[in-house]
Amino acid sequence: MLVLTRKSGEKIRIGKDIIVSIVSKGQGPLKLGIEAPKEISIYREEIYQSVINTNRHSIAKESVRLKF
């Protein structure tokens, strides 16, 4: 993993199409701005991981009976 130190207002370029900006850095959480082509999806990682986890556990492994 590449670790860079940036100040507020500074940016990072990833590949030719993605730019990450440090939007603010005061008290509280860091704000990041991300510019990327619309084909590239951007997610909070913990949410993406939750979806991966739920998808993997949604694979039908057994018979299920539902009553309505």
Binding site: S41, S58, E62, L66, K67, F68
Partner: protein
């Protein structure tokens, strides 16, 4: 009126045979021929299965409205899904324009949207993923799983079996 809905058992070896003969075997023994001309392309796969890009949606005719999102590249990868209009979600499902453009539609009305279901009789789990619906453009057969921003949507929304 009470209805019992029995759904699919996945047994890898026998399922592969049934898949290759074009027949989808139901737990209750009724075969359903599915149409391999309706193969849906998921260009980016789905989270956790990014390498899988060919799926079909198999309606469980006798067990409407449940359907199965079935991988054609890895047959054991099959998930129960339900069209969202059959499920009473307290939150509105709104797909962003950027995601609609990815599958070639201008409006959400042109899409078929499903929730993936997590169901285990043994573990007594019956939940629906309302946070990350499957969105399909049925005209050009493009699909994706979209993760919605709305923080009130749950990845594991309990299914109310009244």
């Amino acid at each position: 009126m009470k209805t019992t809905v029995a759904t699919h058992t996945s047994q890898t070896d026998s399922f592969l045979c049934r898949f290759h003969s074009g027949e989808y075997q139901m737990l209750n023994g009724n075969g359903t021929d599915f149409d391999l001309t309706n193969i849906i392309d998921f260009d980016n796969g789905i989270p956790g299965f990014e390498e899988l890009s060919k799926f079909i949606v198999v309606p469980l005719i006798e067990h409407h409205p449940f359907q199965v999102l079935q991988s054609l590249e890895a047959p054991p990868i099959a998930m129960f899904v339900i069209p969202i209009h059959h499920f009473e979600s307290k939150q509105e499902i709104k797909i962003e324009r950027i995601d609609l453009e990815q599958i070639g539609v201008r409006s959400q009305d042109e899409t078929d949207i499903y929730f993936v279901m997590k169901m285990s009789q043994e573990e007594k789990i019956f939940t629906v993923n309302t946070k990350a619906p499957i969105v399909i453009n049925p005209k050009i057969l493009q699909g994706c799983q979209v993760i919605l921003d709305n923080p009130n949507l749950q990845i594991e929304q309990p299914l109310d079996l009244a």
